[in-house]
């Protein structure tokens, strides 16, 4: 075995060099460090891999930039962010179609943050469809509601959508409309689909009372869901807030 001691290794010509040949292995022995200086980079071409063996650790103390990345192999129950939509103009709603609602996931989580309706006293709800928004099957829904800073409480049944909140104020006050929902069994063709969730809003009436909602919905279709829209039931949504869709890994 021969040994070469050098302080710097550079290509004989040009700026590219190849280390070893196909099938060869370069071993970094225990205690040795492969260091990338500031401004340096390790590029892995398409089809290449960096493998971390069982028992080994990828120790990251800096930033992981996953822009444009596809994440696979997550364990069952993990949440995968599919798409986040930030409103910048008035709109009739926020929809996700069969591009995102697929058989890849059976359960979806949707987070609604900072919505307001254009029309005062509107309700903001989630509507599901099995045919990319051509039709919307019956939603059998009800909710409990509770005033947070007054004495009101009650329930509403026989609603026609999964409402995040009722009677929403259209002006910014103590609260905007926030909420979340879990949509379950979207691909199970033997049963209806279930939606559960919570929401809150500043009430339209006094502009001072804040209400929280706990909603339950059965979406009356045996077909697989492939579309949802989050919308006000009277007029547009105002141009701010964010809706984010997540899939739960099977």
């Amino acid at each position: 075995m021969s040994k070469i001691n050098v302080d710097t290794w550079e290509p004989e010509s040009g700026t590219a060099a190849t280390l070893m040949a196909s099938g060869d292995t370069v071993t970094l022995p225990s205690g040795a460090i492969l260091s990338v200086a500031s401004g340096g980079d390790i590029n892995v071409a398409s089809g290449g891999e960096i493998d971390i063996a069982s028992g080994a650790t990828l120790d990251v103390n800096g930033t992981i930039d996953v822009t444009g990345a596809t994440v696979t192999g997550l364990t069952t129950g993990s949440l995968v962010k599919l798409l986040s939509t930030t409103l910048s103009g008035a709109s009739a709603g926020v929809a996700f179609d069969s591009t995102y609602i697929t058989s890849t996931y059976d359960n979806y989580y949707v987070l609604v943050n900072g919505f307001l309706p254009v029309t005062d006293n509107a309700d903001i709800g989630i509507y599901l469809s099995v045919d990319d928004g051509v039709t919307f099957a019956t939603h059998l829904s009800g909710n409990f509601y509770l005033a947070l800073n007054s004495t009101g409480y009650g329930w509403a049944g026989s609603q026609n959508a999964h409402y995040i909140a009722h009677d929403c104020s259209n002006v910014v006050g103590e609260m905007k409309v926030n909420g979340w929902a879990i949509i379950q069994n979207v691909n199970d063709t033997t049963c209806y689909k279930s939606i559960y969730g919570n929401g809150s809003t500043q009430n339209s009436g006094t502009k001072a009372d804040d209400y929280a909602y706990n909603s339950f919905t059965s979406f009356a279709s045996l077909s697989a869901v492939n579309y949802m829209i989050i919308k006000s039931n009277s007029g547009n949504l105002q141009g701010f807030g964010t809706a984010t869709l997540y899939g739960v890994v099977k």
Partner: protein
């Protein structure tokens, strides 16, 4: 034609989508009107019951405890 966000992009609605969303809103209005009417009736009934109990001599705290 309206605007809506589809898969993150602000997009024109189609006439067919406009129609189906309008139908949803119309159905929702019927449900909401019924809910408001029921809540108003419930509030009126509650006030009527309160007034009758109060006339019998119950205090507000006693009425609150049994309603």
């Amino acid at each position: 034609m309206a605007k809506y966000y589809l898969n993150g992009n602000l997009t024109d609605t189609t006439p067919a989508l406009d129609t189906v969303l309008s139908e949803l809103d119309a159905a929702s209005k019927i449900v909401k009107d019924a809910r408001n009417e029921a809540e108003a009736q419930k509030a009126a009934d509650k006030q009527s019951a309160h007034d009758k109990l109060s006339a019998l001599g119950l205090t507000d705290a006693e009425i609150e405890a049994i309603t």
